[in-house]
């Protein structure tokens, strides 16, 4: 009962920032380079925890107003910057008429806290005879009023509206990795059904925060041993190294892109998502079902899997169950850009688009011995996502 015949959706703009640099070319070169090019690990700042920090950005290039930069915290700056790169890449930056009809879906968690204030309050609470009263007083006096606006999940989208003028619509999805998958899935569904012609979709995650590291430490999910690729971690208990990533895609109906003479990077053919209870093999089953929906269209030998493997043992096992039976060359980008939760899936769709556009896979990531070399021409990429707790998703990206 779809109303319009399904339209083709193209990726016409990508903005990607990670430890490996900014833009697809920087990522291509780093991933094809030597260990020094692809391993940018910070093992000291948050020791014993490690992070893949984002490359240093000249923020003023995408966020020219100093007041705007000051109003944001790190995750918002990263995302707003990456969104600007995507718009620039698609050739729509500053085109107000287009941006007014551009639809935005952002996958987001929450923003930075004031870590010093938290520490002072916790210390004071332990010493106070009237802790609740003490908490009220300290919060009223010590919280920076505008910090709230750097913490609200939907204020990454809000900042993108303010800085870049994207105002056709603005939705923010929450829910860790799943939010990233569904943001891309819903944008594609709307594009296919003519519920909008041009979309800005993505997310940002800052790993360089004690509270994001803390979230994973609550489940003892951080990898604190010497760095190894994600596939090698489960045998020693598993774990993730977080990475700061900003990743945005411009997804556009083919005829809309052709009309304005835009150059496509790749075709986004399909996105699927699911949530299982992770019991009795239901996640493995869901991944197999999603794969089977895609696989009839795959060209033998021309496909690479771009995996969002986190390194957390249970999730890796679910994904290995799928991949070990299919024997398709796989590239787990998280080994070197780190796990970026909501931004992971948009980032991997971006890197998948990079590979199909060049017709070539990058070498095994982080010299992983679990990833097969691939010399044949790459025409298709399957992007996988198995969340660190919940969420199973997949996308098919094809060369144009």
């Amino acid at each position: 009962m779809a109303i319009a015949p399904e339209r083709e959706a193209w990726i016409t703009g990508i903005g990607l920032v990670s430890a490996l640099g900014e833009g697809l070319d920087a990522h291509w070169h780093a991933l094809n380079g030597d260990r020094e090019a692809w391993l940018k690990l910070d093992s000291t700042t948050h020791a014993p925890y490690q992070v893949h920090p984002a490359v240093t950005l000249d923020l003023a290039r995408q966020i020219p107003d100093r007041g705007d930069r000051r109003q944001m915290e790190g995750w918002q700056r990263l995302g707003t910057y990456a969104a600007g790169l995507a718009l620039e890449n698609a050739g729509v930056k500053g085109q107000d008429d287009l941006l007014k009809s551009m639809h935005m879906i952002v996958a987001a968690g929450g923003g930075e806290r004031d870590y010093a204030v938290d520490g002072q309050i916790l210390s004071g609470l332990e010493a106070s005879n009237e802790p609740a009263k003490f908490l009220n007083e300290r919060l009223m006096n010590d919280l920076r009023p505008t910090l709230f606006l750097a913490q609200l999940s939907n204020l990454l989208a809000g900042n993108i509206s303010i800085v870049h003028g994207v105002v056709g619509s603005s939705r923010t999805f929450m829910g860790e990795e799943m939010a990233g998958v569904d943001a891309v899935r819903v944008a594609l569904g709307r594009c296919h059904a003519a519920q909008g012609d041009i979309f800005l979709v993505g997310g940002a995650y800052s790993a360089e925060r004690p509270d994001t590291i803390l979230h994973f430490e609550l489940g003892h999910m951080n990898w604190t041993r010497p760095w190894v690729p994600v596939w090698e971690r489960p045998k020693d208990g598993g774990g993730t190294i977080l990475g700061s990533v900003g990743a945005f895609l411009v997804i556009e109906a083919r005829e809309h892109a052709e009309r304005r003479g835009a150059t496509p990077i790749a075709k986004l053919a399909k996105v699927s998502s699911d949530r299982t209870r992770r019991k009795d093999g239901d996640a493995e089953h869901s991944m197999a079902v999603q794969w089977n929906e895609i696989s009839p269209g795959l060209i033998p030998g021309a496909t690479v899997v771009v995996s969002g493997a986190t390194g957390v043992r249970e999730g890796v096992a679910i994904e290995r169950d799928l991949l070990d039976q299919r024997r398709v060359p796989t590239r787990a980008t998280g080994s070197v850009i780190g796990h970026s939760v909501e931004a992971t899936f948009p980032a991997n769709v971006a890197l998948a688009a990079m590979m199909v556009a060049r017709g070539e896979a990058v070498p095994p990531i982080g010299d992983s011995k679990d990833e097969a070399r691939m010399t044949r021409k790459v025409k298709q990429a399957v992007v996988t996502s198995v969340g660190h707790w919940r969420g199973e998703g997949m996308a098919l990206v094809e060369a144009i």
């Binding site: 009962m1 779809a2 109303i3 987001a108 968690g109 870590y115 938290d118 520490g119 916790l122 609470l125 332990e126 010493a127 009263k133 009220n136 009223m140 919280l143 009023p145 505008t146 709230f148 606006l149 913490q151 609200l152 999940s153 939907n154 204020l155 809000g158 900042n159 509206s161 303010i162 003028g165 994207v166 105002v167 056709g168 619509s169 939705r171 999805f173 929450m174 829910g175 860790e176 939010a179 569904d182 819903v186 569904g189 709307r190 059904a193 004690p210 509270d211 590291i213 803390l214 979230h215 994973f216 430490e217 609550l218 489940g219 003892h220 998502s273 949530r275 707790w389 919940r390 969420g391």
Partner: protein
């Protein structure tokens, strides 16, 4: 079967079940009785000590026992969802035939959890995040980790209702509930599903959330008379009152609902949106995004301003919102505006934040079905700059076949829904 498609040729989307929880009580009957009697659910906060706070009133939901904000959000969402699903008589027990669209507040650790972690580190002075991380490493906090995931509320509700696929958890600040409805309508229109469960829920009225809004000078400080604090569109309005609640709606394609013989409670005819790029917390002074958002909703519904008899206003009771909402309504409805009743449920239930759009959509549909417009209470002093028929203080009988419900939020979020009676 002429009405199965709308004026744009898309499937008509109808509502077949509704549920609601607010500070006024649980369920549609209790809420509607109190709402149409002009009763307020706003009270002095008892949940936590109020000493040292600038605002000490709220519309908290105190009859649902809970452990933390995501827990209360989940529980209220479940109550409202149960009522809606039961009314719709849809699907098998715990097997809802469609996805969940959940509007909810952002999730984060709260002070009791931070204190637990600090104590696990055995440090009691000069505590830093290094210590908190040591505390986290020292014991198993995996249950805390799961509870404070953004996805955990949707996960619990997906299990309870047996919804299909990945639940979508949405945050568009104070427009969240309306955005959840909008996403479900779009999914049904594009044929992705025949039915969807929409819930907007917010149980986040804790100390820090209250202080955050307080520091932005957004809250009423009329602490002495809590029930009189929320006074949308009045000259002496001084801010919104933070509140909690949940609203749930079962949406279906008209065709699907008719085929299974469901009672149609109303139609979601149109959704409009336009983001504002002016400022993080303030509207464009010309009101253009609000105007554009309402016009987009009317266009989406294929109706004109003359076709609308009632506006369920966002009406927060902040000086800025109510002025800008009036500017928007005046521009869109022009000469028709004097004939349109406008009221704000927030005068009685406060601002239920992420739940507001869903709760107020439920109340708007009840207004249409019952022919009674709930009042805007606490209306003693008109703002000379705002010329609206506010249904002041006392509910009114009126024949309403079509209404709009507005939701505006921080971050430039503007959503307008067009809701109507079942086509004759």
């Amino acid at each position: 079967m002429a009405h199965m498609k709308d004026k744009h040729g898309r499937p008509v989307v109808v509502v077949t079940g509704m549920g609601v929880v607010t500070s006024l009580g649980q369920g549609k009957d209790e809420n509607w009785a109190k709402l149409t009697a002009g009763q307020s659910g706003i009270h002095t906060i008892t949940r936590f000590p109020i000493e040292g706070l600038r605002t000490t009133i709220a519309g908290t939901v105190d009859f649902v026992p809970f452990e933390n904000a995501p827990d209360l959000t989940t529980k209220m969402a479940a109550l409202a969802g149960d009522e809606a699903v039961q009314e719709a008589r849809i699907g098998g027990e715990g097997a809802f035939p469609g996805p969940l669209f959940l509007g909810m507040p952002p999730v984060e650790l709260e002070w009791p959890q931070r204190q637990d972690l600090a104590r696990a580190s055995a440090k009691s002075a000069d505590i830093t995040y290094t210590d908190i991380l040591k505390g986290a490493a020292a014991k198993d906090f995996s249950a805390m980790q799961t509870r404070f995931l953004f996805g955990s509320v949707g996960d619990a509700l997906a299990d309870r209702f047996g919804t299909k696929g990945a639940p979508i958890s949405i945050s568009t600040a104070c427009a969240t509930g309306a955005t959840a409805i909008q996403l479900a309508v779009e999914a049904i229109r594009r044929g992705e599903t025949e039915a969807a469960l929409v819930i907007g829920a917010d149980g986040s009225a804790n100390q820090e959330s209250l202080v955050r809004f307080s520091l932005l000078s957004a809250l009423s400080t009329r602490n002495g008379d809590p029930k009189a604090a929320a006074r949308p569109f009045s000259k002496d309005r001084d801010g919104f009152v933070m509140a909690e609640g949940a609203g749930a709606l079962v949406l279906e394609s008209f065709e699907h609902a008719k085929a299974r013989g469901a009672t149609i409670l109303g139609v979601v005819e149109g959704c409009g949106e336009m983001a504002d790029s002016f400022h993080r917390t303030r509207s464009s002074p010309d009101g253009a995004p609000i105007i554009g958002c309402i016009r987009n909703a009317l266009d989406d519904a294929g109706v004109t301003p003359a076709d609308v008899q009632y506006v369920n206003a966002h009406g927060t009771s902040t000086p800025e919102n109510d002025k800008m909402e009036y500017v928007g309504l005046a521009a869109v409805f022009g000469d028709h505006l004097p004939a349109i009743a406008v009221s704000s449920n927030k005068s009685m239930i406060g601002h239920t934040l992420s739940a507001a759009g869903a709760i107020e959509a439920v109340f708007t549909l009840m207004t249409i079905r019952s022919g009674i417009v709930p009042p805007t209470i606490n209306h003693t002093e008109a703002d000379p700059a705002i010329k609206l028929d506010l249904v002041p203080n006392v509910a009114r009988k009126a024949n309403v076949t079509r209404a709009i419900s507005n939701s505006f939020g921080f971050g430039g979020q503007n959503v307008c829904l067009v809701l109507a009676a079942e086509p004759a």
